[in-house]
Symmetry: C2
Subunit: 343 residues, 2 copies
Amino acid sequence: MTTVKEVAKRAGVSTATVSRVLNDIPNVTPDARKRVQDAVQALNYRPSRVARRLRIKHTQVIGLIISDIQNLFFTSVTRGIEDIASRNGYSLILCNTDEDADRERVYLEVMHAENVAGIILASATETGHDPELLNGRIPVVALDRLITDVQLDTVLVDNVGGAETAVAHLLSHGHRRIGMISSQQQLTTAREREDGYGRALKEFGLPVEPSLIRKADVRQIADSRRQALDLLALPDRPTALFTFNNTTTLGTLTAIQERGLRIPDDVAVAAFDDLPWATLLDPPLTAVPQPTYELGKTAAEMLLARIANPHRPTTQNRLSLDLVVRESCGADHRPPDGVAQAV
Amino acid sequence: MTTVKEVAKRAGVSTATVSRVLNDIPNVTPDARKRVQDAVQALNYRPSRVARRLRIKHTQVIGLIISDIQNLFFTSVTRGIEDIASRNGYSLILCNTDEDADRERVYLEVMHAENVAGIILASATETGHDPELLNGRIPVVALDRLITDVQLDTVLVDNVGGAETAVAHLLSHGHRRIGMISSQQQLTTAREREDGYGRALKEFGLPVEPSLIRKADVRQIADSRRQALDLLALPDRPTALFTFNNTTTLGTLTAIQERGLRIPDDVAVAAFDDLPWATLLDPPLTAVPQPTYELGKTAAEMLLARIANPHRPTTQNRLSLDLVVRESCGADHRPPDGVAQAV
DNA sequence: ATGAAAGCGCTAACAC
DNA sequence: GTGTTAGCGCTTTCAT
């Protein structure tokens, strides 16, 4: 490994001058600069970021910790983060916790130890965090999931509203027994989406029937399928299903197909979280898309703002959601275009 | 930030002893050990990996560089890598190049500068690499895509064979005009899959008609759709389509749907790279699944082996592929089970 | 068993 | 404009 020293020697200057050239600091004669550059070239010198960081303290690297790398939701969010990060001269490194609090801790330690400039975290848990890790010297932005034991900049979506809209849509189509495939993991998103589900029922004067909410491992299509099969095997089968995220949706659709049921006639489906191939399904899926790119962009911007000014008050950003109506809930029974909406 | 020094002071020992305790080195009296541990606790001390690494030189971190984080193929491979890595006490950090050679270079530099123990690289390009970066002091394993300008441990799939099988399947169903949505990016996988396509045609005595191969941006469903639409608008429309990967498949299916064509009657489809929801499509998709988990596992194992022994000869691993026949190519015309296969 | 001290590769005062 | 030098936080001989 070549070092500044060797470069300095070869260029016939001091290490300080080499450092100056490398870091574009003025006050170097063009001649010296040229000699240093030549030496760098000749020796194929590559400065050690590790050493540099030990001095410098900060880096142009942002760390992202997500809980399920196989979930398109998170990878799309990542794209949003990446764009903002790289536009601002930051690199992004990504770690996957697989919904495991221990792994999350390890990766938070890694990020700290690496001295990243900031961290964006979609936490596997709502509480139980090490305050030193989240409220320490490295700024952290909470993404998608609320963290309640530490006050952080946060960006979320309107889970309650989104779920409520979707379930209300099912209700407005006449469904009265609506099952939900929710999350087995303790997530704030799950609680909020269940809340939205409950609210919609309440608006229609319906009680929440606990047996109609099944909890699935949100990382696994197979487990979601199993829970959906259970729901569909109920003596008084639900006529509609509301799903927690894209994975549970896939499991649910698989279960429905296996049971030989037709959508929406035998069972209607509304999903939280859209799929890029929703229109390729038969019938196309009614869903509440999440503004993934926007979510990532916002998180990155909040983080950069905090890096720039560590003392600004923490803020919370909740992005709103809209339902996209396709055919999986039955033909739309709203009046056609142009017709006045009489009761 | 607390340092060894402060811990040492508080524990009433030297920094050397603190370091010994921290690194589980024997020869420390239980008493001293206890005092150090207490001090660590009390000060919430967190050793700086940056400083540590400057001395130590190596880390328990593996770097993975992939070209499209939104592609399920790569994220599934990641899971395989992760399992092996964490089972061996390594953390995994992931970077996304978005098929951009410049970004790939930047991230390779980041990984080098971070001094990771090893790198797994799905390169955006076949050549044009900096040999210092790939054949330098940090071991690199090439994943999924062949790198020809530097000799590396490599793990691939049998692209030629897989493509050949898929296209032969279409041919055996009577198709004679078979279009291919391939990759606009210069990828070895694209060349090999095109090769397989050509071989299958040749076996049936058919020439490759260049106008039937359209190149799409493999990251974008939208672009794949566009290319597929072009193919479907040809005066002498192909009766079957073979797609390069899951993204091109999605674009192609979208195009077919938009054109109002039926699968497989109007146009049959066979895909390279399976989708977890292939059976939810109507009709279910015939595809060549890739052993993603195995691919990641193998890559990680090769990398660990090389880290353990930097001087072993480089090896190349090519995983074989099988076609999964579903309905998107038409009813299977092979004899039913148990019937002797007469001619 | 423990401590003193050197030094990993780099940057940034400070002196000239 | 350039060089000397101290030191970032850690590990590791080498003494003791």
